[in-house]
Amino acid sequence: VRALLLLALSADPDLDAWLARIRAVGAEGEGHAEAGEAVRKVVARGPDALLPTLAAFDGAGPRAQNWLRGAVDALAAAGKADAKALEAFLLDRRRSGEGRFAAYEILVRLDPAAPGRLLPGMLDEAGRELRREAVAQALKGAEGKPEALRKLLPSARDVDQVGAIVKQLKSAGIETDLHAHYGVVARWTLLASFDNAGMKGFDAAYPPEAGVDLRTRPAGKGGAPVRAVPHETKDPAGKVDLNAVLGKEMSAVAYAFAVVESDEERSVELRVGTNNAVKVFLNGKLGAFRNEYHHGMKMDQYVARGTLRKGRNEILLKLCQNEQKDDWAQSWSFQARLCDALGGAVPFRSAGP
């Protein structure tokens, strides 16, 4: 389909070859000199090369897409683009969200009325930037209108837009289930604690990393049996304060374990926020990690991409607290959610443990 879509926009084999060369850029500068030469030739083609270059975003990775953006910006500046053709491209949902957003930005410069005309139909966009623009415009129109805000909320993905809607709904006396909206994993068993003296616990593979068995209590910090503490967070964003639940502890490692069930197999992002060094496992596979302490916590800080199996799935988070004494270095907390690539909650059921 992608090849057919490209053919539909370009009958120029040279241009196709140059765009293919750009899309083929690899890591550590591989193919960059050749791709640079290809960019120069594409740009020299002038505005006629714009739509084929936008089409080349389809299926390209983030690296190649930035190469294409460099060419698109130069082409857009080189001459007046065909607004009708750009709009048709923008409205073609078979195209990538990134290429369509690049088209949208050029179109808006040519036709300032385009957002008002087109964005209302884009509240369900799969592309993040187009979705955000559509929600932003709708939000302006929904200010102070609870029913409109309530209808808009399911379209919102970015935390700031969700927050703005929820705040207004709350003012109107309407509560929102943010756990459902974000796909928050709320029910956990917290396994604590293991040793993190000298911050060496991050690299130590303690027993839960080989598989969690709640019937056993492995030896933890100081040889004491590890506690298993059930906890369900009521925090709207799913935050779990380990200091509050487990008691304040320094130089320690805790594991947060959750089981979720899915009705079908699907791609998923397990997104975690924490101020602490962290490892994120989905079904036993390490998907994200960061050995960094107390430099800020935010939603979706670390993303583990994987597959939610049909039936039972296990989530395991390793959360390391160091021994800093500063007031700002006492946080030991996390939040986690399951969502799609756009940040929309995926359906799952907490199944214990």
Partner: protein, 389 residues
């Protein structure tokens, strides 16, 4: 305007963080001493986003980076005509690395590097774009794509430095830390060496010693000189507490390394001797300046300290209006010091730092000034400003 453009092309460029020698020193003359919101601003240009990067000037063009968007994911490279302030082109990219950072910084923190025909724009996300002077993309590297663990949650800020066709990049962070030289023509690595996995914002410094260009990389526990061409390690100074924000400078056979304490090193053949230590010389956010046998350093509150570069003896101290993040610039016997409120104190170096002007623009500024073509360039989050007579 044409005459001005011609004159600009003949003037010294300011091609990188802290100017042509990397020491914050300009040979320009006829620079303005006094200006205000209403006087002396030759032109201003609105910016599409925020940034802490300094403008750089090369071949009559001013290059600048900025970032915008909900998560600062939109990365802008901008080019202005130095004579008129006209925006010649803008290119934008999307962050491929993490955009998380401390509130005081942002993704457009590293200063670009340029020469007469190219500009190299690095962002805190590890995105690195090489463009020609007309904005045509030469190559683009996603360093976070190449090395997925790089990054930190505070934000990265070390600027790239261009030496001929070699682009030097310091990427020290909690993940895969490295010092690298990238071929400016092809985007490929020339060499890459691991560095300590600690957060660090210092910019490499290139100087020529014994006829060979050396690239200095300062980490908390090590200052290392690499041969620019081969990447071979020439000498190393181990330390306990070198600074992670202000960058080193070198001149007259000495390397001035901010830290606790501020240290001057005298590299020899494979070895390095400690020339002096000066605990009273501050090592805060601003990088030090060396000029005519003296070292100038500024703390975050605005106290300027001048030391004899030969022995580290403190010669004078002057208090200016802080707080400060920008690094100072020396030109025409004056020290220009921009504070975070957008006020530039001008000190006379022949009068032990006597303040001869305080030029207030009244908008937050943290980027170090650039000096070229008889003009001083400042940037805020909102605009780029050319100040000239």
């Amino acid at each position: 305007v044409t005459l001005l453009a011609l004159l600009l092309a003949l003037c010294d460029d300011w091609p990188q963080f802290r100017g042509p020698g990397g020491r914050g020193v300009s040979a320009e003359t006829e620079l303005p001493v006094r200006w205000s919101k209403d006087q002396g601003l030759r032109w201003t240009a609105e910016l599409p986003g925020v940034g802490l990067s300094s403008p750089v000037v090369a071949g009559g063009r001013v290059y600048l980076t900025a970032c915008s968007g909900f998560e600062q994911e939109r990365l802008h490279v901008l080019c202005f005509d130095a004579a008129t302030g006209a925006r010649l082109w803008e290119r934008s990219f999307r962050a491929t690395g993490s955009t998380q950072c401390n509130k005081k910084t942002n993704m457009a923190a590293p200063t670009p590097a340029a020469d007469a025909s190219r500009v190299f724009a690095l962002f805190a996300t590890g995105d690195l774009a090489a463009l020609d002077r007309d904005g045509v993309l030469l190559w683009y590297r996603s360093l976070a794509g190449d090395y997925p663990t790089i990054g930190n949650n505070v934000g990265m800020a070390a600027s790239p430095v261009l030496h001929g066709d070699t682009l030097l990049v310091a990427m020290e962070n909690v993940g895969e830390s490295f010092a690298a030289a990238i071929d400016a023509r092809t985007g490929r690595n020339l060499w890459k060496h691991p560095r300590s996995a600690k957060i660090n914002w210092t910019t490499p410094f290139v100087w020529t010693r014994a006829g060979r260009p050396e690239a200095l990389f300062q980490s908390p526990n090590e200052l290392t000189a690499y041969d620019v061409a081969s990447g071979s390690r020439l000498w190393t100074h181990a330390a306990e507490k070198l600074s992670t924000i202000p960058s080193p400078v070198a001149a007259d056979g000495l390397v001035f390394a901010p830290g606790g304490p501020f240290t001057a090193l005298r590299p020899g053949d494979g070895a390095v001797a400690k020339a002096w230590e000066a605990p009273a010389l501050p090592a805060a956010t601003a990088s030090p300046t060396f000029h005519q046998g003296r070292v100038y350093a500024v703390d975050n509150t605005g106290i300027v300290t001048c030391a004899d570069a030969a022995d580290g003896k403190i010669l004078w101290k002057v208090r200016t209006k802080g707080p400060h993040s920008a690094s100072p610039v020396v030109a025409e016997g004056r020290l220009y010091l921009l504070n975070e409120a957008g006020a530039t104190a001008v000190l006379s170096l022949s009068e032990e730092g006597k303040q001869i002007a305080l030029n207030e623009l009244g908008e937050p500024m943290m980027a170090s000034p650039a000096v070229s073509g008889g003009a001083i360039y400042l940037r805020s989050d909102r605009r780029l400003i050319r100040i000239s007579r």
